[in-house]
């Protein structure tokens, strides 16, 4: 039936139900990733960011909110240049984080 309008699915994040397994596994490898303060230095310096939407800040946030599809899309645009690691004030090894995330993704998909 056409009511002349449609409802978009709720974008609300239900923290009781988010799947943090990938984030927790990455944090087990390097607990430092939990110290992100969302300052945006990584994204500001990232060459890929302007063209592709890659952002380590957004990757970390999306992982914490269980939005894994967004993570995957962003990661695929990284050139692994490592500039983001140089600027992070919390000293997070963001380049290694990206590599670790890719590795875990490969495993998850390998398992499936």
């Amino acid at each position: 039936m056409d009511f002349g309008f449609s409802l978009s699915p709720s974008s609300a994040v239900n923290l009781d139900k988010v799947d943090l397994s990938l984030y927790d596994r990455l944090a087990a490898i390097d607990p430092g990733i939990r110290t992100c303060i969302g300052c945006g230095s990584c994204s500001a310096t990232c060459t890929a960011s302007a063209y592709s939407g890659m952002s380590v800040r957004k990757v970390l946030l999306a992982m914490q909110r269980g939005r894994m599809q967004e993570v995957e899309k962003m990661l695929s645009n990284c050139m692994l240049c490592g500039k983001c690691t140089m600027v992070c004030p919390r000293g997070i090894n963001t380049r290694r984080l990206i590599l670790n995330a890719c590795r875990l993704y490969a495993n998850v998909e390998g398992e499936a």
């Binding site: 609300a12 994040v13 607990p31 919390r90």
Partner: protein, 338 residues
């Protein structure tokens, strides 16, 4: 005739001021409204940034007061100017001619029930920062569940809130929330702990280290967004709604315990003092220093001084430093050196 220095308020500010005045050879009288000394700090358990024990701090201050005239359960009932100083009549009938007065009456904790949308006093599992310190001190509290699986902290309750009548930041509650979040995580390692904040203001020595520790070692979740509403669920939990402003998405979570970080507000009766000695009150309702940079412990009135949180939110080290400064200023004033 003995010439006293009246110290009004027996919190840590008043205690330290009296200890120092005595050491400087003056005769303080410490006037405390309640039946015991220590003020708010007497209700706290462990103190940031070193997790030292609040009761130890108060006991140490009490040691220095053995030879000081301490009037408990007393307030000023009238205050009359003399040629040099003031004559104080206390509610217990005692009269003290005083050369100078140090106001150390501290602050009040924002009454959390006034933010009705957070459900304090309405829902079963909503408490304040003060309640939690009491529970850490061993006070039974049926609102704290035996084994909570999810705990939330709401920052800025009654602070930075013009509608609630307080536009100021209380400055101690961000670090207190992080301290309490870590303490809860230590007690309940299985629980998820969330802090809902607008800005994290961690200005003091070692405060940022607390934050990093809370993130990295305790996996405490920080959500940037003000809690908009709290509702009780059918199974007695509280559901919290906020916007995760970093991702621009609404978030909700069910909690077994919600802790409100009630802010630091001025005492309602500050005006009685300012009227009695004819000095203006500051526009935030606290006492007004002669100068907020160079003369924070001095008032516009000769012989009237301030120490501690009665001029605005203060940490303990700041309060103690001001108490020492006030004592020194009184000494210089009484000796005619300044």
């Amino acid at each position: 005739m003995a010439e006293y220095i009246a110290v009004v308020g027996g919190g840590i500010a008043g205690m330290e001021t009296a200890v120092r005045l005595k050491a400087l050879g003056l005769e303080p009288v410490l006037i405390e409204r309640s039946e015991s000394l220590g003020g708010h700090v007497a209700s706290w358990h462990r103190l940031f940034p070193d997790m030292s024990h609040a009761d130890k701090l108060i006991k140490d201050l009490e040691k220095g007061l053995e030879d000081v005239d301490v009037q408990l359960g007393a307030e000023i009932s009238s205050l009359n100017p003399l040629r040099k100083g003031y004559s104080l009549v206390l509610t217990n009938g005692k009269v003290y001619p005083c050369r100078a007065i140090v106001l150390a009456t501290g602050f009040s904790l924002f009454p959390a029930e006034r933010k009705e949308e957070y459900g304090y006093g309405i829902y079963d599992h909503v408490i304040t920062n003060r309640d939690l310190e009491g529970w850490f001190n061993g006070k039974a509290d049926s609102r704290v569940p035996e084994s909570p699986r999810a705990i939330g902290f709401v920052h800025c309750v009654g602070s930075r809130d013009i509608k609630a009548g307080n536009s100021q930041c209380s400055k101690v509650c961000c670090i207190t929330a992080i301290k309490q979040a870590i303490e809860m995580k230590e007690k309940f390692p299985e629980a998820e702990v969330y802090c809902f904040y607008m800005d994290l203001r961690l200005f003091g020595k070692k405060y940022e280290d607390f934050y990093i520790k809370a993130q990295r070692d305790y996996n405490i979740h920080f959500i940037r967004g003000r809690v908009s509403e709290v509702a009780e669920t059918i199974d007695g939990q509280v559901q919290v709604k906020a916007e995760d402003t970093l991702s621009g998405k609404p978030v909700r979570v069910r909690l077994d315990l919600l802790v409100l970080m009630a802010g630091i507000v001025c005492n309602a009766d500050n005006q009685t003092f300012t009227q009695a000695v004819q000095m203006p009150l500051d526009d935030d309702g606290f006492f007004r220093s002669r100068d907020n940079v160079g003369a924070i412990t001095e008032s516009d009135r000769p012989g009237v001084f301030f120490a501690g949180a009665c001029t605005g939110a203060k940490t303990i080290p700041e309060t103690l430093a001001e108490a020492r400064s006030a004592a020194l200023n009184v000494y210089l004033y009484v000796k005619g050196l300044k």
